[in-house]
């Protein structure tokens, strides 16, 4: 597993290793988030997913999210790993760890991170379900879209 705070990786995600990356003296709270592949989506029985990324830009977008978080929550240390390639039901597609002296900030930054990932990181989910396959298309990625940032901030356990 990558020891970098941000990574796009084909490796299995390891939440304990991610926590180790953000741990530091003075830390009292770590909030983590794992996104897992669900067995159903919009009424379809999902068989597996293939995640694809525009890797260099995806890495930069993760770094941007870390920077945005640092501006809002200076005491939070954030790590984000997103998996690519073939994933089966129950596999973790994304893992986030947010460490801070106090818990309010770790919860907020962790939630903000997953919302922003879904908005601006160039990764695509190819869903293979019983009876076919489909590219999932979510948000038009625009890191400068202030309305999207505001929406993520509102959800950030404020």
């Amino acid at each position: 597993m990558s020891a970098s705070p941000t990574a796009i990786t084909a490796d299995v995600l390891d939440i304990t290793a991610l926590v180790r990356i953000v741990e530091a003296s003075g830390i009292g709270a770590v909030t983590t988030f794992l996104g897992l592949v669900r067995d159903h989506n919009q009424g379809r029985r999902v068989l597996h997913l293939v995640y694809e990324a525009y890797e260099p830009l995806a890495e930069r977008a993760l770094g941007r999210i870390v920077d945005e978080s640092r501006v809002k929550w200076p005491s939070v240390t954030l790590a984000i790993h997103h998996r690519i390639g073939r994933l089966t039901i129950g596999d973790a597609s994304v893992a986030i760890a947010a460490a801070s002296p106090h818990r309010a900030d770790s919860f907020a930054a962790c939630r903000y991170a997953i919302e922003r990932i879904k908005q601006i990181v160039p990764i695509w989910k190819h869903e293979y379900f019983e009876g076919g396959d489909v590219w999932i298309e979510g948000a038009t990625a625009d890191p400068d879209d202030q309305a999207a940032r505001d929406a993520a901030m509102r959800l950030a356990c404020a």
Binding site: Y54, P122, E137
Partner: protein, 81 residues
């Protein structure tokens, strides 16, 4: 000048290829390269309203000018997480 084009996800599937090269007049914008691509592959036209673009792996605007050797990427709506 010569630009490299990167396509992802369903955009790539519609074109049938994820990496193309195109000749373009010096100073061509990202939008001009896109329009050339749409002329060759009309099926991708609807993405004009929902996609993003990047130049050399940085988010960009359709009005940004390109230089020789640039890599321009067209990105369908994202679905990570």
């Amino acid at each position: 000048m010569r630009v490299a084009i990167r396509l992802f996800a369903r955009l790539r599937d519609l074109v049938g290829c994820g990496e193309l090269e195109r000749e373009a007049p010096p100073g061509s914008t990202v939008g001009a390269v896109w329009n050339g691509l749409v002329a060759d592959y009309p099926a991708i036209a609807p993405y004009a309203d929902s996609m993003s673009c990047a130049v050399n792996a940085e988010y960009a605007r359709m009005t940004d000018p390109l230089a020789d050797g640039d890599e321009v990427a067209f990105l369908p709506p994202v679905s990570g997480g």
